[in-house]
């Protein structure tokens, strides 16, 4: 989720906002999070990074509202003599691609610089997957000499002053510089690190980590800029670059292409539209509409596309058009989600409840008849609870933001927690819970066996209470069981039984040992029953 804020005054230089237009913003697919005197805030979904910048968003909204519709064209100047970037072989195994552009006639003020940096950062996080897939560098052209070389050097050969710091070696940057520390993983294991060099072999940056402080920061004085995106996925890099340069172009800059001298030379940026084949029939069938070619053409133009049936030409900065269905959604958005008429088709299906759900509901009903209250607890337990109850082979979560880190192996542990949280509530307390418990099981699809369990807890309660409840439940279900004496951690020896049904152990009942009660913070005697429901499901 990316939330983006625009100054309302800046925004209204392009589009005057009123209630109706604010409403439309959400219908474009950018939920309006907030709009006040000073600011508007929208959410941009990950499929539309081209809407992150004010310029990109205004471009889309204007068109959606019916102004300047259709495929927007930008003029690109062909690369001049030195406007090129040479990619060396050294870097091909490390971070193989870069696409670059030059922007001239920039007129930057603080607000624009801030918004460009903001766009760059948000693209790093979203499209760039935290700079892994794409990292962007923007440099004042006045401070560097073309052509540019994209290469890789040994850490020992890299020495420059990164942003906000004095001169450092590559290793120092990775160890000490905040950006270096944050992104050092991206260069882990590399023998050489990627660098951009200018014609004087001055280091411009060490992507994807940091720019040089001398050449790596645009200011209000910057009139021309060199822009590069480096990474592993050429298509994605092109889109990223396109999002940036169209934003700059909308700010009034003129964009110059560069020739990228790779094993297969290319010229970037490339704004030629993408082509998707559609069928009017498919679109109408999917959306439940009756649109003709003209309707579709008008709707597509509102979303910035152009229809030359059967092909749709889409802007080169759209990252989300993978298939005809993506075009269908744009048509639906242009048509207006608020205009679709709902309909329930008459298709013959018959309802069916899961048998296990029926049995669970029946068991709950029987226990409620015994004045028991159902509880509903977390499926995870705390590590200390697992330790206290000597859980064998706990199934642990890799990373949890709370104390709850282990899949519950039974319902007894959570029940103890709930009862301890209710020590001051009126007694007697009679509770039950039905829900899955988890155990490791090799050779199953997930390696974990998930089994519904039933827990009954009665406090104050003794063995007789527990057994009475179990008797009543089993006789109500028309089932039989036997008890076998058993020792179980946490329960009193000699007052604990294993519940056997059809010669198979399915659970236990007994009185909880005062030691366990004390450690769990309980104050009253407690009797429990816990049975696995799987065997009961099989019998009923």
């Amino acid at each position: 989720m990316t939330n983006v804020r625009f100054q309302r005054s800046e925004f209204e230089k392009h589009i005057k906002l009123d209630e109706k237009i604010l409403e439309k913003i959400s219908l474009l697919g950018t939920p309006l999070e907030n709009a006040d005197k000073n600011e508007i805030e929208i959410e941009v979904f990950p499929n539309r990074p081209d809407l992150i910048s004010l310029e990109g968003f205004v471009r889309a909204l204007k068109s959606f509202l019916g102004k300047d519709t259709g495929l927007k064209k930008y003029k690109l100047k062909k690369p001049e003599k030195d406007e090129k970037v040479v990619i060396d072989k050294e870097v091909k195994t490390i971070r193989p691609y870069t696409v670059c552009a030059i922007a001239k006639n920039l007129s930057l003020d603080n607000a624009r610089i801030k918004s460009i940096i903001d766009l760059q950062e948000k693209l790093h996080i979203t499209l760039g997957r935290n700079r892994k897939k794409a990292a962007i560098g923007i440099y004042p052209l006045e401070k560097i000499r073309l052509p540019i070389r994209y290469t890789a050097l040994k850490p020992g050969e890299i020495r420059f002053a990164p942003l906000d710091s004095g001169e450092m070696t590559a290793s120092q940057i990775l160890k000490k510089h905040p950006a270096g520390k944050k992104y050092s993983d991206l260069l882990k294991g590399c023998q050489k690190y990627p660098v951009f060099l200018d014609a004087d072999s001055k280091i411009l940056s060490m992507p994807p980590i940091i720019n040089s402080s001398e050449t790596g920061r645009i200011t209000e004085e910057t009139k021309s800029a060199f822009i590069e995106c480096s990474g592993h996925d050429l298509e994605l890099l092109k889109k990223t670059l396109n999002i940036i340069i169209t934003t700059l172009a909308d700010m009034g800059a003129s964009i110059h292409q560069m020739s990228i001298q790779d094993s297969k030379p290319i010229v970037t940026p490339d704004l030629s539209p993408e082509k998707t084949r559609i069928s009017i029939e498919n679109i109408n069938k999917l959306l439940g509409l009756h649109l003709n070619q003209k309707d579709i053409s008008v709707l597509l133009e509102k979303m910035g596309h152009e229809l030359k049936y059967p092909y749709v030409y889409s802007p080169a900065w759209r990252t989300d058009i993978l298939h005809e269905v993506d075009i269908a959604e744009d048509i639906a958005i242009a048509y207006g989600y608020d205009k679709f008429k709902s309909e329930i088709p008459n298709i013959p299906t018959s309802a069916e409840e899961l048998k296990t759900e029926k049995i669970k509901a029946r068991i709950a009903e029987i226990l409620i008849g015994l004045n028991m209250n159902e509880i509903s607890t977390y499926h995870l337990i705390k590590s200390e609870e697992a330790k206290l109850m000597k859980v064998e082979k706990p199934l642990e979560i890799l990373d949890s933001k709370t104390d709850y880190k282990i899949l519950r192996p039974n319902l007894f542990i959570p029940a103890l927690r709930i009862l301890s949280e209710n020590v001051d509530t009126e007694y007697p307390q009679k509770i039950f819970e039905i829900g899955p418990v988890f155990h490791a099981k090799e050779k199953s699809e997930t390696g974990i066996k998930e089994n519904d369990s039933l827990l009954i807890g009665i406090t104050p309660g003794n063995f007789t209470d527990a057994k009475q409840h179990l008797d009543y439940l089993f006789s109500s279900l028309g089932l039989d069981y036997q008890l076998k004496e058993k020792v179980r951690h946490g329960l009193i020896e000699g007052r604990t039984g294993e519940i056997i049904m059809n010669d198979k152990p399915i659970g236990y009942l007994g009185e909880v040992h005062p030691l366990t009660l004390n450690k769990s913070g309980l104050k009253m005697p407690l009797a429990v029953v816990e049975i696995s429901l799987q065997e009961i499901y099989d019998l009923i």
Partner: protein, 503 residues
Amino acid sequence: MEHEMHKITDSLSPLEIKIIPFLGLKVEEIVKKTGLDMVSVLRALRFLENKGLLKLKQEKETIIDLGVNGIYYKKNHLPERTLLLLLSSKNILSLEEAKNLSKLSDNEFKVSLGVLKRKEFIEIKSGKIFLKIAKGGLAEKTSEEKLIDILPIEKSRLSRDHDAALQELRNRKDIIEIKEQSSVSFELTEDGKKISGKEIKSDLAEEVTTEMIKNPLKKQRFRKYDIGSAVPRISGGKRHFVNQSIQQGRRIWLDLGFKEMSGGLVQTSFWNFDALFTAQDHPVREMQDTFFIKKIHGSLPEKKILDAVKKAHESGLDSSKGWRYKWEENDARRIVLRTHTTALSAKKLSELKEDEIPGKYFAIGKCFRNETVDWSHGFEFNQSEGIVIDPDANFRHLLGYLKEFYRKMGFEKIRITPAYFPYTEPSLEIHAFHPEKKNWLELGGAGIFRPEVTIPLLGKPCTVLAWGPGFDRLMMEAHKIKDLRELYKNDLKRLREKKAVIK
């Protein structure tokens, strides 16, 4: 008037009848005379008050009483008196001698010296204590001793002369104890005065006995109850209100002709993510967002499905471009606590037989995300999932099913806006208008499964409508809960008192 009194005496309970002869006395004395306990007497008095026979007065008073040390000192002496008595026999003593001979504790000794110095009874010079006061003066009690003699006393009755002594003793450990006490007294009304002191003989029956049933008398009169008076609360067993709501949601989907899907909370990443066209580097697949299980890796489905899913991701199928990256089997084997019930829908699609299309399926169940817990977040949440597999289904049908579900849940007005999920296109977000709060609630997402999802799982293209909006928000509204944590808290008192929601 006589008739009125009769009505009252007919309704007297045995408890009331027992105390009426003693109504001229104070509450404590009634307790003594009747042999009843205080609680019963108070209850009887309250009953009589309800009948207009008396007026209860409850007063809070502050009692100044002796503390643990105070009781001891009253029996023996205050430590300063002990020291004075010692000095009166010796006149001059070194500090050390005085301490040893008096047998006072360090603290008592220090306090005593301080008090006596302030009262100018003694003088200390070069380590020696001199008695300054004439021996005759020693006989008189100090103000502190005088205070101790009159305790316990109600604060308002304590004269101002004792203020200083009270202050002094309160500063010392456990000599004084101040207690809040409420005392009950009552005043008889005119009717009360008439009845007070009377022995009431009653031929009214207290309860229906088995004897009475055997020999029923038409004339039998029963004591009248005050039917408006409160009775002790009882509470019964209940399902947890979360499960009550889930039952309600399940019922609605069943009424709409849906079949219920089953499936575990634990899933392989394959079913939770890969089968749903969620790229392996999508942020939701990082452990900051999702619960992965340590050390365990699962197994993958048959090769046909696996290859198709791999192709959908790597290069796309059915004219899709795919996500263009190298898809790794090992990532798909990682075990997760399902992040959405949509994992069940994916699995269901892969199991469908030709004659099960068209089909409609639902599930309402728990899902997980790696999240801290506060009033609006938690690491567990419930989702209401549904799919409709129907070659003729369309976007308007999707709206139809959703509208009908929410209408039955009590929301007449639904609005949809565009949304994004990796596995649906078009995608939408559902908002419901809250009829009382007059605002829009954001309920969650829905859409039509992408061909990159359906083709590998069904083996052919087919429209599948899908939704998985959260269910907790609806429950919070239904049970008027503002804090999400309450859904998971299990406060037995609240569970017992919870009102039934019928819709």
